[in-house]
């Protein structure tokens, strides 16, 4: 391994990072996750911690860009140079840039996370069968609204599991429209547009208006790439047009003709010879996780290694089951030392008879309270100082955090608001809530506290009722988690057991309880909170969460405080 001249390194162990923008190739959640996993590669073997910031200046500023992207080292189009990063320091030092003329995936072809449908955000499964035909990409077959979709298992006809693929008709990213879909046609500088455009931009990113008139409303977002879209060329994001004419010949599939580098390309109009519109055909792409882990090595102070199997070797190589090479470990530990002790767990607060917390300040109504960011903070009202919440749940697409008579909420944009008084919004409830969920069908909100539960429909409340009325055991002292499932079913958790509640029948299904460990392997069986958020199951223990995807794989362990509460 090598370090930079003077052994450049961070002088603090709590390193911050910020993701400035996203690539159209992957869902933002997948990109967030790839970066988080890439940082974890290094935090696993050093005392370093990595905290994501959502604004301001972070130590490591991460961005995607094309060609000339604002520093003296332009990117070079598809392939070749993939990314670069600067060694630790102020300003641009420590920053990592990724070439967006690459096709960013998880390394083995399109990584397409679905939205909506019934697959709870699972990735597309390619190929999949639909009405006897095999599909290797998202399709609009079987739909009249033009929305591309895919199956999330190998056989849609059998499993009926599906979700919608990224498209500008479904959502946009970045911009100022909170992921709203494009509105077509839209007007920009007096001209009508029926599709995403790069007009008005010099960076080649495709955008659209999210209202009918950009000139008046100024609302816009960037268009996600469809999986069938070409990469780079001069038609980024457009689909191949088959057949297309090239030098008088007709082509019905991607070709490398006309190129000395053997790369496959296609025309994006029916005649390349007249229109000259083209792009590269999608391939396996490059693993954003692997490239990011390498670049973050630079951002932490490692230079290139000449050990071929090391992460810091300069050439890209896809590895399915990645583990850090001993050379990389030796390098990073030369700079920062080894990780000491077990994973950090917060100290438990001492029990005292006199509370250090002052009297509760009057809490403004929800309408007027905003994020608590002042330095003069009462600890009980600063969500970021709370080690363990009474309950966390998603209501109306916002994540609610309850603690001791107060609650906070995080919008889908990551904006935190609160504290609010529980008693103002739901006056029938006690101060401490053990669990809550919103019924997806009726939008009724169920609250559990001790051996009782309440059901709120708007401002109307039913309860308290005893939880045994639902068929839960008489000796059950509380419900600690609730996860909504399809068709009016909700899983209720307590310790190592869970039950399935039929919400319509208001009764636990037969065959329960079941062991949490047998159905949800790899999560703590003493989770004090379980909830569903953006299609993932979250199991919380102290200040940590274990996130489980729709395939019941624990795909992430992180901090409630940083990742969910956005502290």
């Amino acid at each position: 391994y090598q370090t930079f001249d003077g052994d450049l390194k961070w002088d603090h162990s709590e390193v911050t990072y910020r993701i400035l923008n996203y690539s159209p190739d992957m869902e933002s959640s997948l990109i967030d996750d790839a970066f988080a996993r890439a940082f974890k590669v290094w935090s696993d073997v050093t005392p370093l911690t990595f905290t994501r910031l959502y604004d301001g200046t972070a130590d490591i500023m991460i961005s995607f860009g094309r060609a000339d992207h604002g520093d003296p080292y332009p990117f070079d189009g598809k392939d070749g140079l993939l990314a670069h990063a600067y060694p630790p320091g102020q300003g641009i030092q420590g920053d990592a840039h990724f070439d967006d003329d690459e096709y960013w995936t998880l390394g083995s072809g399109p990584a397409i996370q679905t939205r909506y449908g019934n697959a709870e955000g699972a990735l597309c499964h390619f190929p999949f069968l639909f009405e006897g035909t095999s599909y290797s990409s998202c399709t609009t077959e079987g739909r009249e609204d033009g929305l591309p979709w895919c199956a999330t298992t190998a056989d849609y006809d059998k499993d009926k599991k599906y979700g919608f693929c990224p498209s500008e008709l479904l959502f946009t990213f970045d911009g100022n429209s909170n992921e709203a879909p494009c509105v077509f046609p839209f007007v920009f500088q007096g001209v009508k547009y029926n599709s995403c455009t790069t007009d008005g931009r010099s960076d080649g990113y495709r955008w659209c208006a999210t209202t009918a008139n950009f000139d008046t409303d100024k609302k816009y977002g960037f268009c996600p790439n469809r999986d069938t879209a070409v990469i780079g060329g001069n038609s980024e994001g457009e689909p191949c047009q088959f057949p297309f004419i090239f030098l008088g010949q007709s082509y019905t599939s991607c070709t490398s003709e006309g190129r000395s580098d053997g790369k496959l390309w296609c025309g994006t109009t029916s005649n390349y010879d007249t229109d000259k519109k083209w792009g590269f055909c999608p391939d396996r792409g490059y693993s954003l996780f692997l490239v990011a882990a390498h670049e973050f090595g630079h951002a932490l102070g490692l230079d290139h290694s000449n050990v071929k199997d090391a992460l810091m070797f300069p050439m890209y190589k896809y590895i399915e089951d990645f583990s850090l090479n001993q050379d990389d470990i030796a390098g990073i530990q030369y700079l920062y030392g080894p990780k000491t002790g077990p994973d950090p767990t917060p100290p438990k607060p001492k029990t005292t008879t006199s509370s250090p917390i002052g009297p509760t300040k009057p809490t403004p109504s929800e309408k007027t309270t905003t994020v608590s960011t002042t330095t003069d903070v009462v600890p009980s009202q600063d969500a970021c100082q709370i080690k363990e919440f009474d309950t966390i749940t998603e209501i109306q697409k916002e994540l609610y955090f309850f603690k001791n008579g107060h609650y906070w909420k995080i919008s889908s944009k990551g904006e935190r608001k609160g504290p609010f008084l529980i008693s103002e919004k739901w006056p029938a409830l006690p101060a401490i809530i053990n669990s809550a969920f919103e019924d997806q069908l009726t939008k009724k909100i169920y609250f559990f506290a001790g051996k009782q539960f309440w059901v709120y429909t708007g401002n109307d409340v039913l309860g308290p009722r005893k939880i045994e009325k639902l068929g839960l055991p008489i000796d059950l002292d509380r419900v600690e988690g609730a996860v909504q499932r399809a068709k009016g079913k909700v899983l209720l958790f307590k310790g190592e057991n869970f039950w399935r509640l039929d919400v319509k029948a208001q009764m636990i299904d037969t065959g329960y309880p079941r062991l949490t460990d047998s159905a949800f392997g790899g999560v703590p069986i003493d989770s004090h909170d379980v909830f569903l958020y953006k299609g993932f199951f979250y199991f919380c223990r102290e200040s940590f969460y274990w996130r489980m995807n729709a395939k019941k794989q624990v795909d992430r362990v992180g901090y409630v405080k940083y990742d969910l509460l956005k502290c």
Binding site: F4, D5, A67, Y73, F75, D76, G77, K78, D79, G80, L81, L82, A83, H84, A85, D99, D101, E102, G232, G233, N234, L247, E257, G258, R259, S260, D261, W265, K276, W278, Y286, V291, H294, E295, H298, D303, H304, N306, K308, P314, M315, Y316
Partner: protein, 89 residues
């Protein structure tokens, strides 16, 4: 149909990577990743022979150190990689 097609290479509009010869590719690669045109602290450019630069590149990439632009070296130069120079300037 089995007669080989005579390939015609064209310059694609918007293509950042231009069709270039192996020597042009090597020249650009060696410069970009710091093997030649190394700036000294005095500000003067040190003269590094292409052969020496190639040897250094081959050593870095774990290739046979021939000092000539052989096929394995050309292939290695076409591989995707990180943009941070191997030799610090």
């Amino acid at each position: 149909w089995c007669v080989p097609l005579k390939s015609v290479y064209v310059t694609f509009p918007g293509d950042v990577i231009k069709n270039m010869t192996d020597i042009q590719l090597a020249d650009e690669y060696l410069k970009r990743y710091g093997y030649i045109d190394v700036l000294q602290k005095s500000g003067l450019q040190a003269v590094v022979s292409p052969s020496k630069a190639l040897k250094e590149l081959q050593r870095q990439l774990g290739l046979e150190e021939t000092g000539s632009l052989d096929q394995p070296t050309i292939d290695a130069m076409k591989q995707p990689r990180c943009g941070v120079p191997d030799i610090r300037n």
